[in-house]
Amino acid sequence: MKTDAAVQKSTESKKKNSFKRSSRQRAKASLFAQGEPMIWLTGGGLVVSLMMIAGLMTLIVINGINTLWPKPVDLFVTYDNKPYMGEITRVEHFNPAKSELHQHQEKVNSDAVAYFEKHNGIAKRMLVRTGNFDLSGEHYNWVNEYDVREHTTPEQACVVERTSWGRFYGFPSAFLYNGEVIAQDDNQIWETFNKHHKEVRKRWRTQRKLETHEIGKINFYEEKERLKLREKELKFGIESEQWNTQNDHFKSFHARSQSAYEDIRTEINSLKEENDKYKIRFTTADNKEKIIPLADIVRMYPANSLTFFDRMNIYLSRWHEFLFDEPREANSEGGVFPAIFGTVVMTVIMSLAVVPFGVMAALYLREYAKGGLVVSTIRISINNLAGVPSIVFGVFGLGFFCYMVGASIDDIFFAARLPNPTFGKGGILWASMTLALMTLPVVIVATEEALSAVPNSMREGSYACGAGKWQTIWRIVLPRAMPGIMTGMILAMARGAGEVAPLMLVGAVKLAPELPVDGMFPFVHLERSFMHLGFHIYDLGFQSQNSEAAKPMVFTTTLLLITIVFILNMLAVKLRRKLRKKFVSAKF
């Protein structure tokens, strides 16, 4: 076929030559040859991929930003007099079954019939977040538009974010202090609420802090003492001399911590007692009463009578909570602070491990190793390792770090805690090591690239001045290659921060009770499992019972994660550009 085409072409060109040349002729002759449609098709590839990125980003950004914005509260009353009050989460169009239509016609429900006629049989339905799970047993309800008799947005309707049972929607009817009504009027209730809420919450936070930190501390140190005792038991046997001294020590320690515990308990109880005095009584849309202690209320606002600034205020306070608080309600509400913290700590430990070794390997390959088949084979293998699926590293991490290295460490250093594994299970150290191994090729390749970009003339110049090899590397080569090494590190961090699959195997958990770094000696607890933003997304989207409520949270977390990853990547790109410029200028 090709030869045919070639022949055609040559005959064509011969013909062309016989014509008189004119600009018009040239134009038309090239129309078919220009392949405009094909160019458009290739352009289409680019346009489609760009639009895919843009669409994806828009979706995430819009959803992520919107989620925390306070929405109005709608009250729907259906024809069978059922009220549904809450925030509209989603709107859908659907084709109701014929039987349902008939049912409505039988009910002599002229409005609904008219509705169907008007909309060609296609109906709208809304997913309303009605909350009040403790009363109704449902978080969400579908409301068909044709069922709705009345749709209002009541002024007094109020959204309550609680520490448990999910959101509450209702009308505040009274403010109780010590069981007595001290405010009944709407304005009065809000006034008293604003007056007391802060201090009550402050007390609640103190109480929480005492419960988790102080009592946790006591338990932590007591556990340590107990382990010491067990160690003695393993070493010298029970009822030996050493054991007895340790046991006495332990007993006195236990008594001391017991009394400290009692003190904290009384403090907690007094705080609780004070807080228990403040309560608010609500009436729900279906006329049920509910009393909620003020301490349980995280946030409360009259959703339909907010000014823009009020909304902004709530929005910002929600972001603050999201970024700096702990999760509540099985991760579907509250903040992601532990996940952010876990991600950061893991990434930092990973970088500490990966950069020195990556740079060393690259220096060896580029500056020390004698070239040849072996080095190029190694180089190819390292390049290839960058393409090995992350889950394989996870499998390796679990088998090698957790079950082999970790178990050996346990046997030698933490025998007292067995059979509970200390390092013999997933933890932040092993997760970091696994990811370090995974990102090692990235750092090696980037560093090598940077090292090779340093022109040989500089090395030769340095040697000519009498510098040794190490002096040359340390003073001349490495500073020039620094941006490249940084690029490698940042790329590795970005990959590490976004990777989830291996972490699922080596230590990321749904909810970690303790942070990997805290105020208790030795401050960095490398054996602890941790929360991770990426795993948080997976867990919220796929493992949570109330996935509809978790969905907005997933979007916000996603937004946060890709912001982190993108910022890191952008930094890397910037640095790489800088490096390239340097490299170009060094040529001359």
Binding site: M1, P37, W40, T42, G44, V47, S49, P441, G498, T558
Partner: protein, 864 residues
Amino acid sequence: MQKQFTGRTRKKKTSLSVKAADVISKHVITIGGIGTIIAVSTVCVFLLWVVFPLLKQADISGTQTIPQVQELQAKPLHIVLDEYQLLALNIYKNGSVLCYRLDNGSIIDTKTLFPDKSISASSYSFEDNSLFLGFSDGSISIGELGFKTTFIDIHDLPESVQSIKEGDAVPYESGMIQRISKDQYRMRTMKTDFDDPFTTESSSPVLLLHHVNSSRGLFYTALYEDNTLRINNISKRKNILTGKVSYKRSGSNIDYTQRDNQPAPKFLLLSGLGDSLQLVWTDGLLLRYDTRDFKNIVVAEEKNLVPDGSSKITACRYLLGGTSLLAGDSSGTVQILFPIIDEEKSIDKTVTNLVAAHRFKSENKEVSAISTSQRSRIIGVGHNDGTVELFHVTSEKKLGSIKPSSDSGEVYDVVFAPKDDALLVMTANGLSLWKFDPRYPEITLSSLFTPVWYEGSPEPMHVWQSSSSTDDFEPKYGLIPLVFGTLKATIFSLIFGVPIALLAAIFTSEFLNPKLKSHIKPMVELMASLPSVVLGFLAALVFAPVVADNLALFLTIFITIPISFLLGAYLWQLMPYRFGLRVQKYKFSVMFLSVPAGFMFAYLLAPVIERICFADNIILWLDGQVGNGSGGWFFLLIPLAAVCCAWIFTVILNPALRRVSAGYTHQQCAVLDIAKFLTAILVTLLGSYLGAHILTATGFDPRGHIFDTYEQRNALVVGFIMGFAIIPIIYTIAEDALNAVPDHLRSASLAAGATKWQTAVRIIIPTAMSGLFSAIMIGLGRAVGETMIVLMAAGNTPVMEWNIFNGFRTLSANIAVELPEAVRNSTHYRTLFLAALTLFIITFILNTIAELVRIRFRKKAVEL
């Protein structure tokens, strides 16, 4: 002259610190560097190290011959082994039960059951230690024969027993006592507990007896000498006041007549559920009765186990679970039979046939005993020359063979310890105990990668099903469904991703304004860093429901978007030539309009297509409920027809058109071109319509193959979203390859009068071909190993169907799902490591190929 130099004398030696730094740094870096590289390569070695034991044979060692004792010489009816391997007991035909120590064979307890009666048949079940004894007067006694544990207080023991070491055992009274921890002593004694015999339907001697304790109740069957064959459902009742035991029996006699000139059957066996009954004669005839309904017991099947009649059946019993029947014959063959549903005869799937699924052969050594493990599908086959061979039934792996001594004589019985950790072999010459570790009996290379015949399935199959809730579950470790799933995900994502990525790369490198390029390329590269968990979440929770609701629209978009780009091009050509040159720089922006245009076309067209091709409801159509196959073919054939049509038009029509249009103006040409395009569309539609009808007429229906029932999480969604992950990678590498083509080639081509498009297609792309290939390879590698997207959006069912609308399970997702739950060093754990190793090897090979090709290409490009 030199002496006149008055300055400081030059130090000729490098200072020691610099030297030291050099040496130290050299060593540190060399060690660190090599160490790092070794650490990285450890990954592969470690995976291999974990996987390797899978292929090892079982470990049978530590034989312990038990000294011969006169009383134990005879062939016992049954042998029962204590789970702590301290004691064993034999029951003999004369009713005596001997309990003896396993370490030295000394008898420590004896008992005689029913001394006034003579046992003529017996049946023992390891599961509940129940023993049925049939007597010569036709009566039957039910009881329990085994061991019992009592914990004895330290103070009740004599000094000599108190002082034994932890773990040691000594005889005490009529049993063995073992110190299991500091102050815990465990006593094991024989337990015999028999009820009085009850008279049965016949008073002639019981010939054969068998019982099962199934979930449906306790069943027993007996064959008497007077040819009465009886099956009974029996339940025990104890009178609270008198303590008297009575039995409630219900059952029926089975129609059975003695075969002419033949001895009585040798084996009588009930299946595990009590729903079928087998009679086996030594000449190989097997008669199977269907006993699901006692009122209507019929012969379900008559089968000859040795069709050539050359050998005799010598041993027969059920495998754990009571579904598979083991039959050993005098030629040394053991066959494993289980019932499968007869598709031809049965309408309601009730007619079953026995099929010999597995066969183990040893050379001409008569099978003298078959025994089964009490917790796995391992069998021990004893031969008349004293050898015992061990097999795993499902994987057909030979675990090993043992021979107690050179002159041990016939194997009477082989007993597996309850925990599968020891083996007691009784031969004519005595007893021996063997330590036994089956290791990984379920796994062989062929059980991983070739079809395996699992119990109850009609034929050998590839199945992955690693765990289940029941105990006698047969784990199915076939990796092929997972490899298939990986392949499916890869192929669908490449079909979507590769064309877009390559086209985009060509456009970026050849036609895009360089200024714009420096912004766009990093943007696409940024997409490569998008965490895949984000893509997976979007695919499963956002994208999948939307696609499910608008499937027709979504499918139509794949056709309308390319068409709208082409249409855009033809319309663009219509512009006056000079004006067109002036607005050239806006072309790329205008291209963006094609996408919304394509969406609009799709929106308008989708209902039409759904009505014409898919009988107005694509979901029902896919399910096979409405419409016929031609619509689907039509849709499938459109891309194919479009490619054919484009090829025909370029090769045949274009030269002709050029000749014709020689005298036309630019606009006339453009109009001609657009007419050509519209004709091409028409021809394409016509072609695929015709093709669809021809295919439908020949009886092919795309449903059931590539189209089938719709599931929300499917290959289409995964392919599309995975595109996001692989497009940036392929794009970047392909664009780099195109860019690496030396500029002088481009200049030369353009200078010779070729258009940009001609240069791109005939010069640049062929030169960069190997670079493009390596780009695709690396994209392939990424798609193979992608975990989070498939984990979240692929549904994770390990099925092997090409249907684009259903899910699958990939190797990587399987690891992520199952590894956290797998017990360390179990078969499952190691198999998952094998899956990881497979992934590692696949990607390593792909990447190496890509890398080698790329290096070659780079060399070539430099040479140019």
